[in-house]
């Protein structure tokens, strides 16, 4: 709530650019890939300005975006298995097991982060199924990465986001939260851990056979952490909602709301009361949860609802073109929110997005990227689409797992 007031305050002055925005740009300055997807070895030295990757389908543009997305917590923008990121052999298809030699992969980066320059390394070590993370050379956890940089991405798969199950919308919302609240990732995963443990207990021993005290201890953990998760999501939707309602140039205004039992409890009363009510509902639902698995109530069931403001229409009823525009409008609203609140915008990874927008919206998107001063990574097949960015971006041609810088006038 305090943050929202601050936003209103600074928002009134225009761009909200009251602090020293330059110098706070979050950017990848050097990216090194080793045996990652189709790259054997790649080193890229970058400016903090937008990055444009142009090349035919299958050249490895999205792989680069995926590598950058792995500098933040989670499974990256493809949500792939860690072993699937091993380098694909040149000679044929993967044998389906664990990559060619099972030798693992690595993504290392030097990043201008929220807290200054940092070296991040992540990858899969040979024989391991887990992703390992190093920060400034010291072993760390993927969750710790959110203390350094955030990234928000839009991929062609997300064009279906308003039609798919609520899970993909929750993940999208959570990613927006990670960018401002590094602890959110930890809360979500510990909530899910407590839920899995309770589900296992109910499955193994049944609602009557399981130790009641143990169950209520797990339910207390779920309630405490689940209410914190719901509160963070409510807070983000409130803050984002204020900015998204204003629209973004030619992008439609959006009404965002979160729908869920726990969120409703939180809106109506204090957090402690919500925790108590959540715990009671979990205890009452044990028999049902033992049969169905999971939990019948909780923040893992909430949904992010989006409406097209001008058309007064739910997002899933809008045309596919309008849905894409709504999604971009939310991403841009989030960037504007963060720019006003903290003067730093997360990395934007926009895979094949520009080509799918009409010309007015594309121009507005490019303008916004330049205005935010964020390192946006854009991919596309057609060079001419990105012509308006020629002066402000660094462009590379991607072909055959290698990159070639496209000088301002001397493109190949």
């Amino acid at each position: 709530m305090i943050a929202a007031e601050r936003l209103d305050h600074t928002g009134a002055t225009g761009t909200g650019d009251t602090r020293s925005a330059p110098g706070e740009t979050v950017a990848v300055r050097r990216l090194t890939l080793t045996d990652f997807r189709n790259y054997t070895a790649l080193r890229l030295d970058l400016e903090p300005s937008p990055v444009v990757l142009i090349g035919p389908n299958g050249a490895g543009k999205t792989n680069l975006l995926e590598a950058v997305s792995l500098l933040t917590p989670g499974r990256g923008l493809r949500r792939a298995r860690i072993a699937d990121m091993d380098r694909i052999p040149d000679t044929g298809r993967r044998d389906g097991s664990v990559g060619i030699s099972g030798a693992g992969w690595g993504v290392a980066a030097e990043v201008d982060s929220i807290v200054g320059p940092v070296q991040i390394g992540t990858g899969r070590e040979a024989g391991s199924d887990r992703r390992s993370v190093r920060i400034n050379g010291a072993p760390s956890s993927a969750q710790a990465l959110s203390g350094y940089l955030g990234a928000v991405w839009v991929t062609p798969q997300m064009n279906q986001i308003f039609l798919e199950s609520a899970g993909s919308r929750r993940r999208f919302l959570d990613r927006l939260i990670f960018a401002t609240d590094p602890a959110h990732a930890g809360r979500v995963s510990s909530y899910e851990q407590a839920m899995r443990d309770r589900a296992r207990l109910l499955k193994d021993r049944g609602p009557d056979g399981a130790d009641k005290t143990w169950l209520s201890a797990l339910e207390a953990q779920m309630a405490e952490r689940g209410v914190a998760v719901a509160a963070a999501r409510l807070d983000m939707t409130d803050r984002l909602g204020r900015v998204a309602a204003e629209g973004f140039g030619p992008f439609p205004g959006a009404v965002v709301a979160i729908e869920g039992d726990i969120e409703a409890l939180l809106r109506d009363g204090p957090a402690l009361a919500a925790e108590d009510a959540f715990r009671e509902r979990l205890a009452a639902g044990r028999a049902q949860d033992a049969v169905a698995g999971g939990a019948g109530v909780g923040p893992h069931r909430c949904d992010l609802r989006v409406r097209h403001l001008e058309k007064d229409m739910d997002a899933d009823q809008c045309s596919t073109g309008e849905q894409k525009a709504l999604l971009m409008a939310l991403v841009l609203a989030h960037a504007r929110l963060l720019s006003a609140e903290r003067g730093a915008v997360p990395l934007l990874l926009l895979d094949e997005v520009a080509a799918h927008l009409d010309e007015t919206r594309r121009a507005a998107l490019f303008e916004a990227i330049v205005e935010f001063g964020t390192q946006a990574w854009l991919t596309g097949t057609d060079e001419s689409v990105f012509a308006p960015l020629a002066q402000s971006a660094q462009a590379y041609r991607v072909a055959g797992a290698s990159l070639q810088a496209m000088g301002q006038a001397t493109g190949p």
């Binding site: 203390g147 609240d181 590094p182 602890a183 930890g186 809360r187 510990s190 851990q193 407590a194 899995r196 443990d197 309770r198 296992r200 207990l201 193994d204 130790d211 005290t213 143990w214 209520s216 201890a217 797990l218 207390a220 953990q221 952490r225």
Partner: protein, 195 residues
């Protein structure tokens, strides 16, 4: 497998050692057979025979009850509950706790198949029916550690002992600017009146 390979294989099972460091450690010992290897073997043999698990608190010692439980200078009315012996040792290193301990031997985890009956919890409840007045819960701040703490609180309720837990907050020598949000808000909630 010859004797040297067997030593290397056993050493490589130690935490923190892989095959390479196990080979280095083995070579190092072989080069110092009389000054290091044989005394170490003897020490391991002696310890292997002498170490007992304390029947009262679960600590490791050469005597049962252990040195902490049998020390009359320690306050038997305060019990500190820890997950592992390593945690007990960590608290002992501070030399600031004068009560006694209770080692659980793990944490509740349905996924790993660890239930209350696998932990040293019934014995804790039993101990609390005696002279114990306060139980300090010093489990880790993980989901499992906190679930276990919750479980113990409920199990101890009928005994009427006071239950406390370690404070969460600003580390000694820490700077607020560098703390994560979760730690800072925990520290705010757990603030204390001065004077």
């Amino acid at each position: 497998m010859n004797e040297i390979e067997r030593v290397i294989q056993l050493l490589s099972r130690l935490p923190g050692l892989g095959p390479r460091s196990a080979r280095r450690a083995a070579l190092h010992m072989i080069n110092r057979r009389e000054s290091l290897m044989q005394p170490l073997a003897q020490a391991l043999k002696d310890a292997g025979e002498a170490i007992k698990i304390c029947g009262t608190c679960g600590n490791l010692d050469t005597a049962d009850p252990c040195g902490v439980c049998s020390n009359p200078a320690r306050d038997g009315t305060i019990l500190c509950v820890v997950e592992q012996v390593a945690d007990l040792w960590a608290l002992e290193r501070t030399a600031s706790f004068k009560g006694r301990y209770h080692v659980l031997g793990g944490v509740l985890s349905a996924i790993d198949g660890v239930g209350p009956e696998d932990l040293n919890i019934s014995a804790l409840v039993e101990r609390c029916s005696g002279e114990v007045k306060e139980v300090i819960l010093a489990t880790n701040l993980t989901v499992e550690g906190q679930t276990t703490a919750h479980y113990i609180i409920e199990r101890l309720e009928p005994t009427g002992v006071a239950v406390t837990r370690l404070a969460h907050g600003v580390p000694v020598g820490g700077e607020l600017d560098y703390l994560d949000d979760g730690t800072l808000s925990a520290a705010l909630q757990a603030r204390r009146a001065l004077g």
